[in-house]
């Protein structure tokens, strides 16, 4: 059964004054790309340098017109590195390390804060009384043989904004080396990166140097994917993912989109464009980028359930039925009941990408 402990636990933490005197003497954050992005002081220098190189790599590409991408991203001006960089920096501002402990870095700043679209949140659902349904390969099943999860990148700013809005409280994030950042909008743009973003995929001579185009294409696409989570308002805030349905490559995992202009579409279209623009990339290098592009496009669904819990439990019940699994009487009864409900389904569509709130200065 799902619980609602995380937010409450976070909100009830006794947080010291942000950026307290104890911080004195810590190194400052680093600005990269003409100051567009602020990299927290706890991000390893080599990671910051690779990000810089990735952006420089983007500037070296030979972009062709791509009306579909320009339209979807609502780019300012022509499609080129500058307009893409501008788009990105409107959505990403702070880059923090996976070592940043959000439980201690996030704190309430203003109670009773007046958020835009008060009370309107992404359509999440809690099916009260739903039992645990465990079937093999069902959602969120940890797996052996794939190693431990290594963090790649996450748009934690959108998540923290949502937490604050739900509690009518403006939250602040202590960004190491930069001080308190007010989460007045997902567009405040706080991204957390981890070693998974910089680790070699393939240990073979010539394929393990993560500063090469092979890896830059992939990292940039991930960055633009995460940036999309800074968009949206009301129900579309954060462009949240949904559970992939039965039969999908990622069935049962919240790794699909019901928005046609969501993070997977942005990542896919962007990676396709930069791959096409990379005249000097080899066929071998482009192959990975093409596969990632396809993997992202494949996650954009045509139809689905409006509420995430409905998608999750429908998947689990269908999976159990498919496997003829013995899930117990209570779960069987629940699945039977669920099958009789008229769950709200939706056809994928373009979501409203206009941002909610705006960046505030300290």
């Amino acid at each position: 059964m799902k619980t609602q402990l995380s937010l409450l636990a976070l909100m009830s933490l006794t947080i010291p004054a942000l950026a307290s005197a104890a911080d004195a003497g810590r190194p400052a954050a680093t600005k990269i790309d003409s100051g567009r992005y602020i990299v927290a002081s706890d991000v390893p220098a080599e990671q910051s340098q690779i990000l810089q190189k990735d952006l420089a790599f983007m500037y070296a590409l030979n972009f062709r017109d791509d009306a579909a991408l320009s339209q979807m991203m609502e780019l300012d001006g022509n499609l080129n590195a500058a307009s893409l960089d501008s788009w990105l920096s409107d959505r990403v501002q702070y880059i923090i390390s996976e070592n940043t402990d959000l439980d201690s870095a996030v704190a309430p700043v203003t109670q009773g804060y007046a958020f835009e679209n008060p009370g309107v949140l992404p359509p999440l659902e809690s099916i009260e009384g739903a039992p645990d349904i465990s079937v093999q390969n069902a959602s969120n099943t940890p797996t052996a043989g794939h190693g431990k999860a290594v963090m790649v990148m996450a748009n934690v700013g959108a998540m923290i904004y949502g937490m604050g809005k739900e509690q009518n409280t403006l939250l602040g994030v202590n960004v190491p080396g930069a001080g308190t950042v007010l989460m007045s909008s997902p567009r405040t743009g706080v991204i957390q990166i981890g070693e998974g973003m910089f680790a070699p995929i393939f240990q073979r001579k010539g394929m393990s140097d993560t500063s090469t185009p092979l890896y830059s294409l992939s990292r940039l696409a991930t960055l633009f994917h995460e940036a999309r989570h800074s968009d949206g308002n009301g129900e579309s805030t954060g462009f949240l993912h949904t559970i992939c349905p039965l039969g999908h490559d990622y069935e049962g995992i919240a790794a699909c989109d019901l928005s046609l202009n969501g993070a997977y579409t942005v990542g896919a279209m962007f990676e396709r464009t930069i791959t096409a623009a990379c005249d000097k990339c080899s066929a071998a290098e482009k192959e990975l980028a093409k596969l990632e592009t396809l993997d992202s496009f494949n996650r954009v669904l045509k139809t689905g359930y409006k509420f995430d819990d409905a998608a999750d439990y429908t998947y689990k019940c269908n999976k159990a039925a498919q496997m003829a699994a013995n899930i117990g009487d209570e779960a069987m009864a629940f699945c039977k009941w669920l099958g009789q409900q008229k769950l709200e389904t939706v056809t994928a569509s373009n979501w409203d990408a206009a941002p909610e709130g705006q960046r505030l200065k300290k």
Partner: protein
């Protein structure tokens, strides 16, 4: 058992739990990070300036490898086929592992790049390449994205080598997906 759909207060917390599960590392947080307020100004470096661009060439992955013999190519595709994760393997991934293209799939992408490179370096391998790609498309345990990439490569190789290819070998979802990259 109380069974009804409810949209109550605090739902965002559920989302947060899910979101955290999706995006946060499994390992325990490291030591507390802190910093002086307003100290973000040092070490500014401008990326994108002339001369600072990352090289789009020069890595060994991009350099021309020696053309493979048919025997070497067959050994390569055997290795590549084994590297492709099955759909069922992808479905066992955690949300964190599946959020972006998983490492296992990325690794297969790099392996498929080796095949593409070998075919580019030795046009005499085209028929063998078509056989490999067709088999890849027809293997329904392969991830949809891999099948779509193989279909795209199959068609482009057939056109480039002026060799006949079979049409209609892929299901509609694979066909539709492959069309997304027809121009690159």
């Amino acid at each position: 058992m109380k069974k009804h759909l409810a949209i109550g207060s605090g739902l965002i917390a559920v989302a947060v739990v899910a979101f955290l599960a999706l995006h946060r590392p499994l390992k325990a947080p490291a030591e507390e990070q802190s910093s002086p307020a307003g100290a973000a100004a040092a070490n500014e470096t401008v990326a994108g300036a002339p001369g600072s661009a990352g090289s789009a060439s020069g890595d060994a992955a991009t350099s021309k490898a020696a053309p493979l013999s048919p025997v070497e190519f067959h050994a390569l595709v055997d290795e590549v086929e084994k590297s492709i994760p099955s759909q069922s393997e992808l479905r066992k991934l955690t949300p964190e592992q599946a959020h972006m293209t998983p490492k296992t799939l990325q690794s297969a992408g790099i392996q498929l790049g080796r095949v593409a490179e070998a075919l580019e370096n030795n046009p005499n391998l085209a028929a063998d390449g078509l056989y490999f790609y067709e088999k890849c498309v027809l293997t329904d345990t392969n991830p949809t994205s891999v099948r779509a990439l193989c279909l795209s490569d199959y068609e482009k190789l057939g056109e480039r080598a002026h060799l006949p290819i079979r049409t209609g070998i892929a299901p509609a979802n694979v066909r539709d997906l492959a069309d997304k990259i027809k121009n690159i």
